[in-house]
């Protein structure tokens, strides 16, 4: 067990394991899948060679590998047909609007979102709440939201990757954004003692 497996690989697990795991987890929302992705990344790294040197270059290199692994994972799940919730009209979908097309008064109002992101970035409770809200989305919807909003992937590329039409993707992103906004408004920003911890 103590035998050296290549000069670096033991160190990798301690130095990059947590980071890569979190990187994967916020994108795939499944801890088992995230663990496997980290393992595949290290295995691929064993086979490969890194061009630049230095600790940040090593991290960048690993992140590059795990990004590909995540996309491969998405591609595999894209072969499964879309689930009910991803596209069919969920009854609550447009409960936010009155018959005349106006926002219902209770939607969004009363919650106090801040002007800029500075204070929130460091606030652990916010990210936990966001995680809970993302979990409530249908899985494929959460995937496309992550690729678009976190990874800034172009919509055309997401469509190709996940075999979606632009229209389907537009609907999924619309729902994801609105549901997350609503969920955060209620669970985080609605609270008057916001940020007490």
């Amino acid at each position: 067990m103590d035998e050296v497996v290549g000069p670096d690989s033991h160190r990798w697990i301690d130095e990059h394991g947590d980071y890569l795991y979190r990187f994967a987890l916020v994108r795939v929302y499944d801890s088992n899948v995230a663990e496997d992705l980290v393992q595949d990344t290290f295995l691929a790294a064993l086979q490969g060679t890194r061009r630049e040197s230095g600790p940040t270059a090593e991290r960048r290199w690993m992140v590059g590998i795990i990004k590909h692994k995540i996309i491969d994972h998405f591609r595999k799940t894209a072969r499964e047909p879309l689930r009910e919730g991803d596209l069919t009209d969920i009854p609550s979908a447009d409960d936010d609007f009155a018959a005349d097309g106006h926002w219902k008064p209770e939607t969004g109002s009363g919650s106090s979102w801040p002007k800029n992101p500075d204070g929130l970035l460091e606030r652990k409770q916010f990210w936990n709440t966001l995680g809970i809200c993302l979990d409530k989305l249908p899985p494929r919807t959460a995937q496309v939201f992550t690729l678009r909003e976190m990874d800034d992937m172009e919509t055309g590329e997401i469509c190709r990757l996940l075999h979606l039409t632009q229209t389907n993707l537009g609907v999924m992103l619309y729902r994801a954004r609105k549901q997350l906004r609503n969920c955060l408004s209620v669970r985080y920003f609605g609270k008057s003692e916001e940020g007490a911890h």
């Binding site: 067990m1 979190r22 663990e35 980290v38 005349d100 970035l121 652990k124």
Partner: protein, 93 residues
């Protein structure tokens, strides 16, 4: 309701347009009508801001995590580390 309002998108239509606008550049005549609606409608302006803030947060976080920022989520579980260590070991031998 004023006559102008009849030429403008409803809030429900706005919610779709505001989402679309985050993914592609909309034609100028649509942007003009959105602009006019936003000038008059606090709730849509609020919604626009919230979507933009959400995007900025997610992109900023992605840059910052790992560079000393607080870990927002648990790390790789110990059993997984052990399993990966074994996997790396056996793939090498």
């Amino acid at each position: 309701m004023s006559w102008v309002a009849r030429f403008l998108p409803t809030c429900q239509e706005m919610s779709h347009l505001l989402s679309d606008a985050l993914d592609r550049r909309l034609p100028w005549h649509i942007r003009a009508r959105m602009f006019a609606h936003l000038r008059m409608c606090v709730l849509c302006e609020q919604y626009r801001h919230q979507l933009a803030l959400l995007r900025r947060l997610l992109r900023l976080k992605d840059d910052s995590h790992g560079t000393g920022g607080q870990a927002p989520q648990p790390g790789l579980p110990d059993e997984a580390k052990e399993r990966i260590r074994r996997a790396l070991h056996s793939s090498h031998s």
